[in-house]
Symmetry: C2
Subunit: 618 residues, 2 copies
């Protein structure tokens, strides 16, 4: 079984803020060392000795100083200035107490294509470093002028034959160019001085731009990080696993969250490298969404009660100690909580504040979450109440794990005093199909990894589409059973003053076994659903061969339609209630596996039009 | 001379918002027609007849309906559904009153590679369209499955030989693949049914992604739009010049500004196509920045007075009718205006509210601005005051054109009552080197085109760099003389809660003929300049061979250094005054042509550190 070293490192360039901000964030997230990126140090108001002592106070080793550029293959006339620059950096590193420097392969136009020269020059620099007790890790940049593969860099390191010179292997530089990395396992591990890890989406673009803007933490992109890391570990490498990610979003996001995201990625990576014997117990099986809690206030609460009533839900219980109502229909359960401490900007609106997953082992789910840096949230409960563990998702939503008893009441449901009404009506609504959770701009990739790793969900459908007020990225995730589904979305660019927030609320999709019946029940109850534009139906008729009866039904009730090779999907929507949440009712027919994504832009425009109409606009 | 048609059109997909928002914006910007993008219509709550009458009310023709996909080369079994879908769209177009539909080359995997079949099918569809009086424009997508060049699409159109079938030429699809477009001039112009225009930066990436995310308006990117447009016009094409731009930023930005930006691009394009006989008179020569006005309040005003005094400026004049002070030193003039109506969020800060350019013909400059959709701003003035024309830049900054008399007072300076003090001290400051203007996120590309076209500036230096709180895009522009320079910058991503705004203020760079003298004068005056980290100087010493005396000077005074092949650049900075503006003092030595951009990240970190220190942080 692959032996994975214990060290966990992160390059300061992964994070945002001052160097101090970055060191603090790395330490808080549990890293034991950092790579100091030269630009971050140069810009810092703290002197090397201050950085050294601050890192020491934080329990952080300084593992690597980087990058040192355009060293090997330099014409002799230029190599003199390389020597001087290198000597200065060795002095600086001694002040910092950093034992290793990264030299990346030259990109300078005057670089000479001569491995013998490169080896001799690197050997000379390694000799200088060795005198300071410093080692040199040589890395092939994917866009190096003459040296751009790990094999080539290894040839030169061997040729130099200096004990203070070894390899730096970077997953991005290797995997962006080749899938030929199995031989890395055969390298002498003590010659691999450093391992840098970054994932990335598979993009077809200039590799330098790809590297500088679009890297991701391991397990967030499309590269085989487990396979690569396994090969490096199998060589006998004993240094840290070190994250080195250049990402436009991370660079401007709160580094405390980014560092946690990075550490979580390393826990997941180690688990995958050692699969099936990783450090994590497998995620307990999920079997659906037990409840969804909406935080409400005096304005949105009554409006939600009215809608739940029209949708056929019954107010079945009242929490024993908290201002929380339980509404039920089939297996769909909604809690209305008027006691949630609101986040700023939430006033006058309802929002999904929590949801609970049916877990085969709530304790096991919570344990796994803790191992993945999502520790239990503090909760107040009265003595007899159920001990539900909640963890915080990246956007602050509380995620509970529970096991709801079958036919009898019990478990967490006993925390609710029965209101004497049977659960729900006869509208066809049977449960919750999925939750659609709009994510904070900075946290989309983190959220994907969080839900995949903590809950054991898999990516289901990734999409990007043009909504009326800008592009949207979407990622749906589901568990193996298909009973627990989450649909995440985020604007491709952070929205400014023009694009209204109301186009991007959260929603709860209720599963109906018969949407026609649900629509009829809603009509009887006097519900005014979201009006869908007539143009949509004209287009639908033009591009599908929908039977006229179904088309007429959709037109009449404001339904939407999607299909895939396996089946069909019918949808209805409520208006936005408050300003941040609405309900969808959907019916899956056959094996339809999607989320109605092609309809999302029209639905968003319809919500916008309704909001404008309600506001007295045109 | 090339005859450029008069029609100006824009595709609704260029703009953000509801279809109504987009139509309104297009009409306000002066377009006479639009292309209706299918998705925008489908999502609209307005029925085709409503759109038709709204457009008519706005004076907008509906020039084109698009796109109709996957038509030609369809297997016979699928072509039946193509026919039905096409018939439905023809009916819709008749309701809308649109006389032309765009068919783009098929991308469907089952498309048959048979030009004869494609021609026959397109001919059949053209026949159907012809019966409705509708024409079909066939366009080769750059990523079309079998048809991806304009030559190939022209072969098929000729082969079909139907009078209702012609070509749509799109500059992106042609120029992203080839520079072979001169032969377009030889096409029969009446067979070119439609011309779509988009520019783009030269990127090395998948062409579909490039097209969908990174298009720009003409004259904003790297394509030869004038040459391409000239070729199409020389064919005898008489339809409109129509903008079709997919751009992530435009999609979420206020469409009223985007539409103006688009119309300005067409004015510039026409001018360039007909160069040297375009519709615009050449921009009058500029010879520097006459003054820069800072809007101040009770807090920032005294602070700015103190700094101007320490920098060696003298308060030389007081405006006759407005609360504006004139401060002078050499040719550097700063106005402090405490009467500017502040924009929201500006309170407690100073900001550049206006600047004036020395123009050989202020009236000519203003006339050109008006032709480029930057009309004169309303201004109140007393009877004897100078008639200065101001226009609004995309960020709202007022741009004045003036001619400051040489040695004697006069002109606009006569609006200021002399305070009896001679202009300025003996600090070495001689004038303004450049203004650095942080741009609103949505308006960066618009600002570049605005300053190039309205002022006749040229791109000087484009850069992208990593600042402590995120990446920054920068573009410097200058006039031919090099006396009028502007440096624009914008975050690559709109900043969120973490990244502080203070890292991205505006600044005025004062030119010094002797920065050592300036520094000494500041020292005597008791000025506390921005402290630059010691780490910066250590790095500077390592990577340059600066003479020790100069390095010591820089270290002592907090100076920064840059060099290029032609010369050197020395810089000093004040702290941020208020929260949005600071001064730089710079000395150009030799022919240095840059803006000290490599130092910007360190300077930004230093401003951040100082702000944290001032706030009592670490």
């Amino acid at each position: 079984m692959t032996d994975v070293p214990a060290g966990r490192s992160i390059a300061t360039v992964c994070l945002s803020g001052t160097l101090e901000d970055r060191l603090d964030a790395a330490a808080r997230a549990g890293f034991d060392s950092v790579e100091i990126f030269e630009g971050d140090l140069v810009a810092s108001a703290s002197r090397p000795a201050d950085i050294r002592s601050r890192a020491a106070d934080l329990g952080l080793a300084l593992a690597l100083y980087q990058p040192f550029r355009d060293a090997e293959g330099a014409p002799p006339s230029r190599f003199e200035s390389v020597r001087r620059r290198f000597a200065a950096k060795l002095g600086l590193m001694s002040e910092l107490g950093v034992p290793m420097i990264l030299i990346c392969s030259s990109v300078a136009p005057d670089t000479i294509d001569d491995d013998g020269l490169a080896a001799a020059q690197l050997g000379e620099l390694a000799g200088m470093a060795g005198e300071h007790g410093i080692r040199v890790a040589y890395e092939a940049l994917a866009w190096g002028r003459h040296v751009s593969t790990w094999q080539h860099s290894w040839d030169i390191v061997q040729r130099a034959g200096h004990p203070a010179l070894g390899l730096c292997l970077d997953s991005f530089h290797v995997l962006s160019r080749t899938s030929q990395y199995a031989d890395i396992a055969g390298l002498p591990g003590d010659r691999v001085f450093f391992l840098q890890l970054a994932d990335a989406p598979r993009l077809s673009m200039d590799v330098l731009q790809w590297s500088r803007h679009h890297r991701l933490f391991p397990m967030q992109g499309g590269f085989d990080l487990p396979g690569f890391t396994r090969a490096v570990c199998d060589s006998g490498y004993r240094g840290p696993l070190s994250l080195e990610v250049f990402n436009d979003v991370f660079r401007q996001a709160d580094p405390r969250r980014t560092a946690v995201d990075g550490m979580r990625s390393l826990v997941c990576l180690k688990d995958a490298v050692r699969a099936p014997h990783g450090p994590l117990a497998p995620p307990p099986a999920l079997s659906g969404i037990a409840f969804t809690e909406l935080a409400v206030d005096g304005e949105s609460g009554p409006e939600l009660q009215r809608w739940l009533d029209m949708l056929g839900f019954a107010h079945t219980g009242q929490h024993r100690s908290k201002p929380v109502e339980l509404w039920e229909q089939g297996k769909a359960r909604i809690l209305l909580n008027s006691g949630v401490v609101r986040r700023p900007g939430d006033s006058g609106s309802a929002a999904v504040s929590a949801f609970a997953l049916e877990s085969a082992s709530p304790a096991g789910s919570a344990r796994r979450a803790g191992q993945l840096l999502a520790g239990p949230l503090p909760r107040r409960r009265a003595g007899t109440e159920a001990d539900l563990t909640a963890v915080a998702a990246p956007d602050g939503t509380q995620v509970f794990f529970c096991r709801t008893p079958g036919s009898d009441r019990g478990g967490w449901l006993d925390d609710f005093l029965p209101c004497g009404r049977p659960p729900g009506g006869d509208t066809g609504i049977t449960g919750v199909d999925h939750l659609s959770l709009a994510q904070p701009y900075d946290r989309f990739d983190e959220a994907g990894l969080f839900y995949r790793s903590v809950l054991g969900l898999s990516n289901d459908e990734a999409a990007e589409y043009a909504a009326p007020f800008g592009l949207i990225r979407a990622l749906a995730l589901r568990d193996g059973s298909g009973l627990a589904r989450l649909a995440l979305s985020v604007p491709l660019l952070r929205r400014g003053e023009w694009a209204p927030g109301v186009t991007h609320p959260q929603h709860i999709t209720l599963a109906s076994s018969d949407i026609e019946r649900t629509a009829a029940a809603l009509e009887r109850a006097g519900a005014r659903l979201l009006p869908i534009p007539g143009n949509y139906y004209d287009d639908l008729a033009a591009r599908t061969d929908l039977e006229p009866g179904l088309l007429a039904l959709l037109r009449r009730v404001g339904g939407m339609y999607d299909e895939d090779t396996r089946g069909r999907y019918l949808q209805l929507f409520t208006p936005v209630i408050g300003s941040r949440v609405f309900f969808e009712v959907s019916q899956r027919i056959g094996g339809y596996a999607g989320y109605g994504t092609p309809n999302a832009p029209v639905r968003m425009a319809a919500h916008r039009a309704l909001a404008q109409y309600a506001a007295g606009g045109n």
